[in-house]
């Protein structure tokens, strides 16, 4: 409830604004415009700031919403309230079509692609006969409740701001959930997300549609506010403007979108009103000053105004309390205490002419710690990627519990009980340790986006967070659970990755250089933890360069050199093996 308080307060203030005596009507018009812009910016916050998908085309989705209701209410006399779901549906459907193409675009193709279809759609709006070409459509009926027609800016004001506050709440709910974490994980690259069962294309499409529907809602409101539509507000310039509204406000923050809209709308208005008096000129001086101020603002606060403001306010974010009594159902484990868990037979991986892994075979038994060692470039990480499905083997078979993993996606393999950490830590720096670790439990929850938005996911969510808290405590980082992952030392971040992997309740844990960057005591604690896990029924396969650590911990050691297995055996046997000594130290002269 405490985190709801500012929102409720804000809603009350906004509701009271039109009743302030002597409130200039023009200010209400400005507030209406801010609200319309904020809706679109909020979608962009989710799409660009959180999901990392830059879109210049949001104005086109406003256009779909606005034109849908304009055509239906004027040409077919449909009631505006009936066109609301249709406007959202049309925006959403076009988002599905464009999104399927767009979210597959990688890197810089993505924003450029959105510029392209944004422009294309703008020209389409201005050329189609039934949309009124450049003149657009006028005489759109106003929104009405009973006999109350929302014609005046101070009546439609309530519709606009109710939509803004409702959507902001829904968006914040969405971000603070299982689905929200999946969306926030997108920016960190797809390998880490996939390793915990997140499907990046689906998550991207979801935010794309969500942002489009918000834009469609803004367009629908716009059409009934202006009571006329033409192509201009849905063109490339508008699309660019929405994006910088989001960036000015702070692209990662829902309320940043609202703040950005306020800054942009008010700034433009002030410039338009006062500049001509100051400089006695009729030209478009406000664009010049607006552009310059934008550049200046980015130089002073590249992260946007909202986070800059929050740092200066004595507000502390709510800490999530995990309820330790909640548990997730554990995975069914193979009953047998012995037997082979993972079997790699004649695995081979070729990159062009380079054979990174050459005909490697070994196995990992249940309740066993196996270490994979070898000099740099021996093919250890490639072997990991083959097991986890990040890469597919050129030849050979890999099987888990007797099931061949050929063609299985990383998500499938995670589902089967293989969980991993990364050589280069892949945490989301601006999320807390608790939230990062909870991503590991992604596949153990089932709340979807809609349930999250409506807060129907709380039971599911509490169980996931409880599991995350339990694993954090297990690895000894309970004191850091509410710190941002990026603020931890590299060694601690590696441990967080282990907690995240444990959250998936794996039968086989793959650790890529877990001891790198750890201090002596931390290494000893890590070794103790891994032994405890093994004794609890888990198997561990680890790549590690610290020989002291490996030889004291592993039950068995596999040695790779130039992609080929050169030895396998107990730590003692490996230490004495002449081939291994030669690989590490060079030929004995």
């Amino acid at each position: 409830m405490r985190q709801r308080l500012p929102v409720i307060l804000f809603a009350l203030v906004m509701a009271a604004v039109p009743f302030i005596p002597g409130m200039p009507p023009f200010w209400i018009v400005l507030l209406d415009n801010i609200g319309l812009s904020a809706l679109v910016a909020m979608g962009l916050v989710l799409l660009t700031g959180v999901g990392g998908l830059t879109s210049f085309g949001q104005a086109a989705f406003c256009g779909f919403g606005a034109y849908t209701t304009a055509v239906l209410t004027t040409a077919y006399g449909v009631s505006p309230w009936l066109t609301l779901p249709l406007s959202l549906l049309v925006s959403g459907l076009f988002a599905v079509v464009l999104g399927i193409v767009t979210v597959r675009l990688s890197g810089h193709y993505l924003p450029l692609g959105t510029i392209a279809w944004g422009l294309g759609l703008f020209y389409l709006f201005s050329k189609l006969e039934f949309l009124g070409r450049n003149d657009g459509i006028s005489q759109i009926p106003p929104l009405a409740i009973g006999s109350l027609k929302m014609i005046a800016p101070d009546t439609i004001y309530f519709a606009i701001w109710a939509a803004v506050i409702l959507c902001a709440s829904l968006t914040m709910n969405l971000l603070d959930s299982r689905t929200g974490r999946a969306i926030r994980a997108l920016r960190r690259g797809h390998v880490a997300a996939e390793a915990f069962g997140i499907k990046p294309p689906q998550a991207k499409l979801l935010v794309f549609i969500y942002a489009a529907v918000l834009a469609g809602l803004s367009g629908w409101l716009y059409a009934h506010f202006q009571r006329a539509v033409n192509p201009t507000p849905f063109g490339a310039e508008a699309g660019i403007e929405y994006l910088f509204v989001a960036v000015i406000g702070g692209a990662g923050y829902v309320w940043g979108g609202v703040l950005g809209a306020a800054i942009a709308v008010i700034l433009k208005e002030v410039l338009q009103d006062y500049l001509p008096y100051l400089l006695h000129s009729e030209s478009q001086l406000e664009t010049i000053v607006f552009g310059m101020l934008l550049v200046l603002l980015l130089q002073l606060a590249p992260g946007g105004v909202w986070p800059w403001l929050m740092r200066r306010l004595p507000l502390r974010p709510d800490r999530k309390r995990a309820d330790p009594s909640l548990v997730l159902p554990p995975r069914e484990r193979p009953a047998a205490a012995s037997g082979t868990l993972l079997r790699i037979e004649h695995a081979r991986k070729q990159f062009g002419g380079v054979v990174a892994v050459n005909d490697v075979s070994f196995g990992v038994d249940a309740r066993e710690i196996v270490a994979l060692i070898g000099p740099n470039g021996a093919g250890k990480s490639t072997t990991f990627n083959l097991i986890t499905g990040v890469l597919s083997a050129s030849a050979g078979t890999i099987s888990l519990l007797g099931r061949t993993l050929r063609g299985a996606s990383p998500q499938d393999i995670t589902q089967l009980g293989v969980s991993r950490t990364f050589q280069h830590v892949k945490l989301i720096a601006d999320m807390t340790v608790l939230e990062n670790v909870a991503i590991g439990a992604h596949l153990r929850g089932n709340a979807g986006a809609l349930a999250s938005m409506l807060r129907l996911d709380r039971g599911d969510e509490a169980r996931l967070l409880a599991e995350a808290a339990r694993q954090i405590e297990r690895v000894g980082l309970a004191g850091q659970a509410h710190m941002l992952a990026g603020s931890l030392s590299l060694g601690q971040q590696r441990i967080v990755e282990i907690a995240r992997a444990l959250c998936a309740d794996p039968v086989l844990l793959l650790l890529d250089e877990p001891a790198a960057g750890l201090r002596h005591m931390e290494k000893q604690r890590l070794a103790a933890l891994l032994r405890e896990l093994r004794d609890g029924g888990m198997s561990v396969l680890l790549v590690e360069h610290d020989m002291g650590f490996v030889m004291n911990l592993a039950d068995r050691v596999v040695v790779l050199d130039f992609g080929t297995k050169i030895a396998e055996g107990t730590p003692a046997a490996i230490k004495a093996n002449p081939d291994v000594i030669r690989a590490y130290l060079g030929a004995v002269a």
Binding site: R104, H108, Y123, R188, I288, G291
Partner: protein
């Protein structure tokens, strides 16, 4: 469809395409070196064209004053940044580049206005003015945020585009302008008439492409630019001043933009805001070239020009829709052909 029309459309498309190719090359260059998606590229086109046209009509273009204003701002910024380590040498150098150079350009412009100056002088002066604007634009707007994300740089570029376009309106007015052609010669091959201007477009495009290739392959500066493009940090470690690379890239882009503008202003009337759309078509080409490949960009630009010419003939209402819709399948193909690298080193 008759052959004459096809040939005519092809010729038209290739002329436009050559311009898009130049702009596409400049965009690729700037993006590779600075990670800035140069939205204001179109303004360089307009500024170049209209500065040239204004000079030709015997007036002082406002851009000459803008150079000095931007130079003063850059000088102020330099002093502010180095306020703790001010030395006479560095201040002197900054003064020479940021104050004396633009003041000299302005003085030269004022001295030459009103006289019957040959076209070559007007062109050289226009390039000097717009090149200096490009140089200072990087210094003022982008150098202070060079380390931030592509998105922030992009938004800053949008800000620059808005400001420059507005300034363009102040300087050149809302009226369109045309400039004198480089050559009035013309000849005819079969049904096609080649004007000296279109030949100049082809020749300059080819020369610039060759020039860029020589620059990047055989000069130290070119190699420094490429090194910066590949790895900023690595370039700095071997002693390349990446801020300098950024300025050179912007200078080149501005000059290329201005050349494109000067080439087209005798053919079509240019308004203060025409550059944006022309620049965007250069974008389409640059995107098809993947923002990395110069030859592919050039070929793609010709393709865009030709598609535009044909669609303006057969479906003129939907010309822009077709040109911009065209790149979606290309983008998709490029995205699928080059599997997404894990975006971990952003």
């Amino acid at each position: 469809m008759n052959t004459t029309i096809v040939l005519f459309l092809l010729q038209d498309g290739i002329t436009n395409g050559a311009i898009y190719a130049l702009l596409g090359l400049a965009l690729v260059l700037v993006f590779a070196v600075t990670r800035v998606i140069l939205i204001p590229q179109g303004e360089f086109v307009t500024y170049g064209a209209l500065t040239y046209a204004t000079l030709a009509s015997g007036q002082v273009p406002g851009t000459a004053h803008l150079v000095l204003a931007m130079g003063i701002a850059a000088f102020g910024l330099d002093l502010l940044m180095r306020r703790r380590t001010l030395r006479l040498g560095s201040v002197g150098r900054s003064l020479a580049i940021n104050i004396i150079l633009p003041a000299a350009i302005l003085a030269l412009t004022l001295a030459l206005t009103g006289k019957e100056t040959p076209i070559a002088i007007n062109i050289a002066l226009s390039l000097l003015i717009v090149g200096a604007i490009g140089l200072f634009l990087y210094r003022i707007a982008f150098a202070p945020i060079a380390h931030t994300s592509v998105l922030v740089l992009l938004i800053a570029a949008v800000g620059c585009h808005l400001a420059l376009q507005g300034i363009g309106l102040v300087f050149f007015g809302a009226e369109g302008q045309r400039g004198p052609p480089l050559s009035n010669a013309a000849f005819t091959i079969a049904p096609l008439r080649f004007s000296g201007q279109s030949i100049a477009v082809y020749a300059v495009t080819l020369a610039l492409i060759a020039g860029l290739w020589l620059l990047f392959s055989f000069t130290l500066y070119g190699k420094a630019l490429r090194a910066t493009a590949v790895n900023r940090l690595g370039a700095r470690l071997v002693g390349i001043r990446t801020a300098m690379s950024g300025q050179i890239a912007f200078l080149l882009a501005a000059v290329i933009g201005a050349i494109s503008g000067i080439l087209i202003v005798p053919i079509t009337t240019l308004y203060y805001d025409t550059g944006f759309l022309i620049g965007l078509k250069g974008f389409v080409a640059a995107i098809i070239g993947g923002l990395v490949s110069y030859p592919l960009t050039a070929v793609a630009a010709l393709f865009v020009g030709i598609i535009e010419a044909f669609s303006s003939f057969y479906a003129s209402n939907f010309k822009e829709v077709i040109v911009f819709a065209l790149i979606i399948p290309v983008l998709l193909w490029r995205s699928l052909a080059t599997p997404a690298a894990d975006e971990e080193d952003d």
